[in-house]
Structures are given as C-alpha cells and as structure tokens.
C-alpha cells in the first residue's frame, strides 16, 4: 500500500513537469511574452527591463529552467492588474471555486446515484426512459445557457433566489445546480451501465438462486459493487468540473478562479493566467491521485503491485 502510494506520487512528477512545459510554451506562442505581460501602453524601457528580468534574451532551455525554478518557489510573476504576486491572488480566490465545485459535485451525485441505480434495476421502465431523455438533453444543452434559464425562472420570475453574486447559501444554489445537473447527466449514464454490468455477474445470480429477496440482492450485493466505479468517475470528472466552473462563475459573477481567468485573459494579465492554469492543473492532478488511492482502499480486488 505504502509502495503503491509512493509510486503513484512519483508518477505525478512527469505530469507536473509536462504541464509546466505546456504553460511555458503557451505564453511563447506569439514569440514575445513581454508584450502580453505588460499593459498595451507600456514604454520601450519597461519592455526592455522586463525582457532582461525574465531572461528572454537567453536561449529557450535556459528560459524554461528559470521559469521552472521560479514556479517551484511559487513565483509566477506579478499581476499588473492587481499589483500583487499572481499566485497570492489565485490562492485568495481558490476557496470560492472549490466551494462551487464541491457543491456541484454533491448535487450531481445526489441526482445521479439514485437515478442511475433505478434506471438499471428497472431497465426500460418509464423512469429509465425519462432518465435517458433528460440525460441526452443535459449533454446537448450548453451549461451556461442552463444557468441563464435557471436565473430567468428562479431569480427573475419567481424571485426566490438572487440573480448573481456570492456570500450566502442562497447565492450558491443556482450556480451549484447549473454545474451539478450538467454533470449529473454524464454520471447517471455511467452509474447505470456500471450497475447493469454488476447485476449480470455470477454472484448476483447465486444470491438470487439462494432465494434472497430482490431488495437484498440489489441493495446489499449489487449496489456496493456498483458504487466502486463512482469513485473513479468523481476523479475523472474533476477536470470537467473545473472547466465548467470557469464558465458558470462567469454567468453568476461568482468571483472564483474561473471568473478571474476570464478577467485576466481580457486584461492580458499573463502572469495571472500562468498561475491560474498551473493551480487548476495541480488541483486536478491531486484530485485524481487522491481518488486512485481511495479506489485501492475500497476495492480489495486491486493489487498494489
């Protein structure tokens, strides 16, 4: 177990280096990141001093090494918009995004787990049919548009919830529902097929032939096994969740990393953009690491070798 965790930890090192190379290359796509990092009215002196400060007059591999060393220290440069270290600003906003993502995941699982199970157990029933219809609709509807529609219904017409902003629980409901229901569509389908697979296995047939009641077979034997893949699903969905948060935050003026990313890109505040991409990637990498470890703990069939 310890060896598995150690090996898994070692495995994320090349991934993190890979992400840092992608971020490094991204900002050099135009050839001159200095122009991007400075406001449009920057003077030639400012351009020259930043070029020297970032070492952009040096060969590319030397530049990357400098970037990587600074990134390790958490130094992604200063945001000219906020006049503060980029990482500090991103970390200040991070709790908002994590709060939204967590609430959305909760909404998604609360909808998807029961719906997926019922759809599988009562295959081709009215519930199954409705669930698949809603699930296809969920795939076809852009998430941000669902958010706009929820605002119209619950904030504008019914006046039950605030249109946007953050602070109270009532502010969290609409964004979490927007992001969560979109994901519930995908997760329901995955749980349904996972459950269907388990139901067809030999030990379920054995349990039935022993004369156990259907509810014991389903809820005691099948469900526990079908829920194991849910853990993996949660891990895989982290990237989707963070990506969805970027757009959802914009719809509801939520003020997390996602909204910060849009602001930073529109302001061409590239130090901030670097920090945001790195932090988001790290959240996703570590969420997947965590999920892999949990998976091994709950599923005794996986060997650690």
């Amino acid at each position: 177990m310890k060896r598995y965790i150690a090996r898994r930890l070692l495995q994320i090192i090349p991934v993190i280096i890979g992400v840092s190379i992608i971020v490094f290359v991204l900002l050099r796509l135009t050839g001159d990141p200095v122009i991007l990092m400075l406001p449009e009215d920057a003077t030639p002196q400012e351009i020259e001093s930043l070029t020297t400060a970032l070492g952009l007059d040096k060969p590319l591999h030397v530049q990357y090494w400098v970037f990587f060393k600074n990134a390790l220290k958490g130094d992604f440069g200063r945001s000219f918009r906020f006049k503060a270290p980029a990482l500090q600003i991103v970390l200040e906003r991070m709790p908002h995004t994590l709060q939204l993502a967590g609430a959305a995941m909760l909404v998604a699982l609360v909808i998807a787990i029961p719906l997926g199970i019922i759809s599988a157990v009562k295959q081709n029933s009215a519930i199954d049919l409705t669930a698949s219809t809603v699930s296809v609709l969920g795939r076809a509807m852009p998430n941000f548009w669902l958010g706009l529609m929820l605002i119209i219904v619950f904030a504008v017409v019914l006046r039950w919830l605030p249109v946007s902003g953050k602070g109270t629980l009532s502010h969290l409901i609409l964004p979490a529902a927007t992001l969560g229901t979109g994901m519930a569509a995908t997760i329901t389908r995955l749980i349904r097929s996972s459950m269907l697979e388990v139901i067809r296995q030999d030990f379920i047939t054995t349990a039935r032939s022993k004369g156990l009641s259907e509810s014991v077979v389903i809820y005691k034997h099948a469900l526990r096994n079908a829920l194991i893949p849910v853990v993996t699903i949660v891990g895989i969905q982290t990237a989707t969740l963070m990506g969805g948060a970027v757009v959802t935050e914009q719809v509801f003026a939520w003020g997390g990393i996602g909204q910060l990313a849009v602001l930073a890109l529109n302001m061409r505040d590239m130090a901030l953009v670097q920090a945001i991409v790195m932090v988001m990637a790290l959240i996703i990498i570590f969420a997947n690491l965590f999920v892999d470890i949990v998976y091994c703990i709950i599923d005794p069939r996986i060997s650690f070798e």
């Binding site: 609709l137 795939r139 509807m141 706009l148 990237a239 989707t240 990506g243 890109l265 996703i284």
Partner: protein
Amino acid sequence: MRSELNDTQNEPGGTIVSNLGADGMSPRSGWGKRFVKLSRSPVGLTGAIVVAVVLFVALFGSYLTPHDPGLTDLYNRLVPPSWVDGGQPQHLLGTDQLGRDILSRIIMGTQVSVAVGISAVLVAGVVGVTFGLITGYFGGILDTLLSRFLDSFMAIPGILLTMTVLGVLGPGVITLVFVLGFTRWVGYARVVRGEVLSLKSREYVEAAKALGQSNFWILARHVLPNVMASIIVLATLNVATTIIAESSLSFLGLGVQPPTITWGQMLNDGRDYITTAWWLATFPGVAITISVLGVLFLGDWLRDVLDPRLRK
C-alpha cells in the same frame, strides 16, 4: 431514445452486430442497408433531419433571414416575441437591445457554429489520427513520450487551455478553428492508438509485413480503413461538443468577435438584459440545444451501426 436504452442490453450477438462483417466492421458492405436502417430508427432519422436542416440554414442563411441581421432600429428596441403582449408580428422572436431581429441573427449565427464545429473537428481528427497511428504502430520511446504528454494535457481543463491560447493569439474565426482543433485531438489519438495496438498483431498486417510492404502502405491500406468507423463516430459526436465549446468561448467574449454573429455572443448580450428581456438569453440557447441534439442523435445512431464496440 431506443439506442440509449439498449446500449448494454444489445451487446454481443445483437441484431446490429450480426449485420456487420466477420471482423465486426466491414464498412463497405452495406451502406444501402444502413440507409434503410436509418429510415427505421426514429432517433437516427430525427438526428439526420435536424442535421440536414441546420446545414441548409447554415449554407443558405443569408437568403432566409426575414430582416437584415445587422440592422439596428432604436425605435424598436427589446421588442418581445410576437406571441407575447407588446410583440410585433414582423419580429417573431423579438428584437435585441439595438432593435435587431433575433430570428434573423440566429439564422446567421448558424453559419459560424457549423463552420467552426466541422473545421475544428477536421483539424483535431487529422492531428489526433496521425499521432494515434504513429504511436500505436511504432510504439517505443515515441509512444511513452506521447502518453506522458497526454497525461499532462488532460490535467488542464480543455476550455481553460482554449481560452488561454485564444487570449495569447488574439480572437478570430481561423484562430478559433485551429485552437479548438489542437486542443481536442487527444480523444482521437487515444482511440486510434488503442485500436492500432490490437490491429497490428492481426494476421493480415503480419502478412503485409512479410510481403515487404512499406510501413506507410500498411498503415494507409490495412490499418486506417479498419479504424475509420471509430473515427467517424468520434468525429460526429465531437462536432456536438465543439459547437458547445465555440458558443461558450464566444459567450466569454474570447471567441468570434462582432460584427460576425454567433449564438454565444447573443447569449452574452442576453445576460446583461436577463432581468428585463428574457427572450435575448433564451432563443439562441434553444438553437444550440436543438443543433447539438441532432448531432448527438445522429452520432449515437452511427455508433450503433458502425461500431458496436464503442457503445460502452
């Protein structure tokens, strides 16, 4: 909805599988049969009809618009849809904050969504399939490097990656196509690589090798045709996600810029008037949902017919 419901039930030995060749897919044998099958599948047929209508509107949109989509009319700002109190019969879906006809703008917006959706998928497909074929067939250090690179690529949310590249390069339709293409090729590379890994040990590939055929010829003549079915299915479903991605980027103000009209931009405008004029933020979204639904139906149907193995 049948294809959704039967996905796991019908697997090996289902009626769909038995119509295919012995290797599970010999795509040349029955296009005629498949067309007959399309007309019998309500989901597939609905998808095909919706996609045909969307393509028609995209191609001939400029002849179909009831009004000039760019024409502002400040006396008729924010006119509600015609069936609502205060609506005008000449503006079926109402007008926006500058008095422009919403229906006409939605019709014109179809062009960008379809053009960007299809072109970006072509770019992604070409890049991804090439990488998948090469790494799957040759393996070795290249394969290891690519796998590591893909892991890193997957750790960055697609939309954030696309946004960043657009932010660096500056927005524009051509840029958008290439950025969406180059950030979405991973799926193709993965699927093609996996299939090639299993195909390359088949007898007919071994036989071609023994005959001294070049690697390029083997890939083009013996491997590629056998992964084509998966690629077509993946590409179709990818058009759907790309349309959504394009509209999201335009909604964020990072995609296609005015005066070119896009559904995402219209929704962005609508967000500012959401408390007073609900129709601005409603109808462009309906257009997106219907188009994507059509593509998804068609894609799901194609998947059932062309490649039963992808159905999980």
